[in-house]
């Protein structure tokens, strides 16, 4: 039992708990805050994976900016607690059963994975996951997806403006 494993267990458990709260909380604000903590604990898992730049980006972008926007919208709309527990319709039962089934299948598959993970080749490189390495890789090797993402963000921005602006 090394410290990494303990930390991973803690982060994983907290991530699951928060993610569960996101789904089951009645009040949207509680859901949003649980989502923030989900992101936060996921960032912890990223750190354990040597991806600390990704982790801090996760906190900066998701927990720090995007969720603030969520919160803003929820507060602006003043959403109350949702009262739609709803009756079990055929579609709901079927959907729930399908979800549970999919989850079970995936769980079985993942449980069958070899217990000992493949030896990581990254241990040797101290620079792995640093901001400098990431920058170099993104702007050379991964330039195509990176530029595609910038196109994606531009499109998303234009699309959001088009959808949000006054009716035509």
């Amino acid at each position: 039992m090394n410290i990494e494993l303990i930390l991973f267990g803690a982060f994983a458990l907290l991530t699951l708990l928060s993610a569960g709260t996101v789904i089951f909380a009645r009040s949207p604000i509680n859901s949003a805050m649980a989502l923030v903590s989900t992101f936060f604990f996921m960032a912890g898992i990223y750190v354990l994976l040597w991806a600390h730049t990704v982790a801090v980006m996760q906190v900066l972008v998701y927990a720090g900016a995007i969720m603030v926007l969520f919160l803003f919208v929820i507060m602006l709309l003043n959403l109350g607690e949702s009262s739609t527990r709803g009756k079990p319709t055929v579609a709901r039962v079927a959907g729930g059963a399908a979800t549970v089934g999919l989850f079970a299948v995936l769980a079985i598959i993942l449980l069958k994975l070899p217990a000992e993970p493949a030896t990581l080749s990254t241990g040797a490189q101290a620079s792995f996951g640093t901001i400098a390495t990431m920058g170099q890789v993104i702007f050379t090797q991964w330039l195509f997806p990176f530029e595609a993402v910038s196109l994606l963000l531009l499109v998303a921005m234009v699309g959001a403006v088009v959808v949000a602006k006054s009716r035509i």
């Binding site: 509680n30 980006m57 720090g64 803003f72 507060m75 901001i131």
Partner: protein
């Protein structure tokens, strides 16, 4: 005359106390490094830098702010709390005892929780507001890394690889406390404050990040130690902000240091404005808006309110520290830096150099805190739309322009001299503009100019957006509003 003397004595005391604090920080750091384990000085740094320096300065700030506002408004300021001790009886002591009374008051007030409030979130709010601001200072180096008792002692808690991104990430979390407090109180005014805080945060978060990109470009790093840089010696030149762009030859070095303020003045203004907005203090105090909605902490009492208040002051200290590190050369002296560091006695007793430079750092911090208090008490509050248009329409485009110009100049002249020439020209233009412009026109010549005119005339004329008011409302505004 005696008043001048008192002030001098007080200032000397402050410098002396800070030097003492730094000296003990270094010495204790060296001791624990030697006797405990390597890296133990990081733990004592938490104690000294965050718990002692930041907390004490923030606590004293509660008083300093009142005194300073009193000076500005030509009042005496608080002086009623006295201590009944021999020799101190009937002395106001500059209002210092008020700190104690404030704390007593907050601790003994009843802790009210509104019946309709969400208890969990209500209690979470102050914690979430306080903790991030406190954690921010962890990455700011308050002094150089020196050898004490043969061990290396860093005057910083943590030096993560992502440096400045940590500041941005943690700072952006602070708004949750505010927003939650506003929402959980189940109070319309509180909710308004929370909504204002979130929208303001979003508007300035982008500009805040962009304003620092210029600094990252010029120093090719996001890490504080690399940006602050090392002091040069006979063999190697300095790095980061510890080097000179132009310097005299000879033992005593005199020249233009590569401080952020000289090579990134626009970046500094943007950063300062945006981070000022994130501290939620006037003129950006819309979430609080004490004259209109009281704001997100309207339902809080006792020490929970105290946490909100003290976190605001902690933010002031942290902002000053971060700004010093990025734009004012961190712990470096503007001149004589290399001369001092290469003195034999300094080489021998590393902690001495550390103490001197650390004191320099805290003096710069105090200066920036003073600037913040000055801004806080001279400018009236923005209107909501002005806040948004300043963030999105002025700071954001200027930040983008700054990045492109900086990138191009760094590419063209990696020695940063071209950038410094541009920077000094920018400073000159700003000075000329602010001193000569009597009635500012609508243009945005740098954030500061746009700034000043927004506050200075915002309230007198019903503001920047006055063109959408009918003409008669224009004249009537000063009389009716203030």
């Amino acid at each position: 005359m005696s008043r001048v003397l008192t002030i001098l004595v007080a200032m000397f005391t402050i410098v002396f106390l800070m030097a003492g604090g730094m000296a003990s920080a270094y010495l204790v750091g060296g001791l624990v490094e030697e006797h405990w384990f390597t890296g133990a000085s990081r733990l004592t740094n938490v104690l000294f830098l965050v718990l002692i320096f930041v907390m004490v300065i923030a606590t004293l700030l509660t008083m300093a702010e009142r005194k300073w506002s009193a000076f500005i408004q030509d009042r005496m300021g608080p002086n009623r709390a006295r201590i009944a001790l021999p020799g101190l009886k009937n002395r106001s002591l500059g209002g210092l005892p008020h700190i104690l009374t404030d704390v007593l008051k907050m601790l003994t007030k009843e802790d009210l929780i509104p019946a309709a409030a969400n208890r969990f979130m209500f209690n979470l709010g102050p914690i979430l507001a306080f903790a991030p601001t406190f954690a921010l200072f962890a990455v700011v180096p308050a002094g150089p890394s020196v050898q004490v008792f043969g061990r290396n002692v860093d005057m910083v808690v943590a030096t993560p690889d992502f440096g400045a991104l940590y500041v941005l990430a943690i700072a952006s979390l602070a708004v949750y406390g505010t927003a939650l407090a506003g929402w959980a109180s189940n109070n319309k005014f509180g909710l308004l404050g929370g909504v204002r805080a979130t929208s303001q945060m979003i508007a300035y978060e982008v500009a805040l990040g962009l304003s620092l990109v210029g600094i990252f470009l010029t120093f090719s790093s996001v890490q504080f130690p690399a940006i602050i840089g090392d002091i040069g010696n006979a063999l190697t030149g300095g790095t980061g902000q510890g080097r000179y762009l132009w310097r005299t030859d000879g033992a005593f070095d005199l020249g233009l240091p590569a401080w952020g303020i000289f090579i990134q003045p626009l970046g500094f203004l943007l950063f300062f404005a945006a981070s000022f907005a994130e501290t939620k203090r006037a003129p950006f105090d819309l979430p609080e808006g004490e004259s209109e909605i009281i704001g997100y902490f309207v339902e809080y009492s006792g020490m929970k309110f105290g946490l909100f208040m003290i976190s605001e002051f902690v933010e002031v200290v942290v902002l000053a520290g971060v700004t010093t590190a990025f734009f004012f050369g961190g712990y470096h002296l503007p001149f004589g830096n290399e001369w001092l560091a290469n003195l034999p006695i300094m080489q021998e007793h590393g902690w001495l150099l550390g103490t001197i430079l650390g004191t320099v750092f805290w003096l710069k911090v105090l200066f920036l805190i003073w600037v913040q208090l000055l801004i806080r008490w001279t400018f009236p509050r923005f209107r909501y739309d002005q806040i948004q248009s300043l963030g999105w329409k002025i700071l954001l485009p200027l930040g983008l322009v700054n990045i492109f110009v900086t990138g191009a100049l760094v590419l063209w002249d990696p020695s940063l001299r071209a950038l410094a020439v541009l920077g000094i020209a920018e400073i000159g233009i700003l000075v000329v503009l602010t001193t000569t412009t009597k009635v500012p026109a609508g243009g945005a010549h740098g954030a500061h100019a746009g700034h000043g005119h927004d506050h200075g005339h915002g309230h007198a004329h019903g503001g920047h957006g006055a063109h959408d008011l009918p003409a008669h409302a224009h004249g009537a505004a000063p009389a009716s509003t203030h």
